[in-house]
Assembly symmetry: C2
Homo-oligomer: 137 residues x 2
DNA sequence: CTTGAAGCTATAGTGGCTAGAGGGATTATA
DNA sequence: TATAATCCCTCTAGCCACTATAGCTTCAAG
């Protein structure tokens, strides 16, 4: 049996976050010690590691909740699990595209200032005037 | 003089967001009509457009607040404005790098499932086992 | 003068945590 | 066994940048 601190160290999930996940119903309330402290089993550690991995991959809590529910039914079709992964990949790709556009614009803005005062500053001018931007963002 | 709705249409900033910016002190409380409704001048429209452009470029409210304060002092050096832009560019580039790693991992996960049931699902397996991941994320 | 859109304030909710206050439990050492 | 250090408990509030709702008032067009 692990204390919440040990579980935290083993999974890399911070202690208040573990309690938060319990409150959100992502993990069930564990056993308690005689003095009312949480005590976790190995199965609970694995579940938390699954959650952590999902979060590290950028999945939302709700996606993870659904994947956890699915993973409890080994005989069911995995179409929905595949869809969650595919949808999330699409979201990440869109984010990358958006950020690349921003990067282009910001690289121009951040390197374009040849002046020395605010009155001549290309950064300030660029923010005042979206017409200087190449892409629509 | 513009009503808050007209200002919203002209800048693309939603009405509740304009009120929120006022509350945050990013824009000053405008004149009011006889019936207590907000009335904006062209100068206020330009200030809001500046804010909107900053947000579209991903700057934080605090960065924008600082840039607005700087822009009021045309004779001062613009070093700080340039720094805000450069720092933000660096943040965006880091985000892109992180998302590209995620994309790689997710592309593998989302396209790797050859099974049909949860029990054989590569998505579920990948989440359970970080060892399958190439990069540390 | 009526109607419907638009505006007002105040409060609470979003996601995913994180921080702090004010205590109780456990464990290691003396 | 005493004590001190560390850990853990609950509860509440805060973070960011909005967004939504409720219950009301004002405005502009016909
Ligand atoms: Zn400059
Ligand atoms: Zn622009
Ligand atoms: Zn599958
Ligand atoms: Zn991994």
């Amino acid at each position: 049996m692990l204390s919440i601190g040990e579980l935290s160290r083993e999974t890399g999930v911070k202690v208040p976050t573990i309690r938060y996940y319990e409150q959100m119903g992502l993990i069930t309330a564990p056993e308690r010690s005689a003095g009312n402290q949480r005590r976790y089993s190995r199965a609970e550690l694995e579940r938390l590691a699954f959650i952590r991995h999902g979060r590290d991959l950028g999945l939302s809590i709700e996606d993870i909740r659904e994947l956890l529910e699915l993973s409890a039914i080994p005989d069911q079709t995995c179409a929905q699990a595949n869809k969650i992964a595919a949808d999330h990949l699409a979201v990440i790709r869109e984010k990358i595209l958006r950020l690349k556009k921003l990067e282009k614009e910001l690289a121009r803005i951040a390197t374009g200032c040849k002046g020395h005062t605010i009155g001549e500053c290309y950064v300030i001018e660029s923010l005042s005037n979206h017409g200087l931007c190449a892409d629509g963002h």
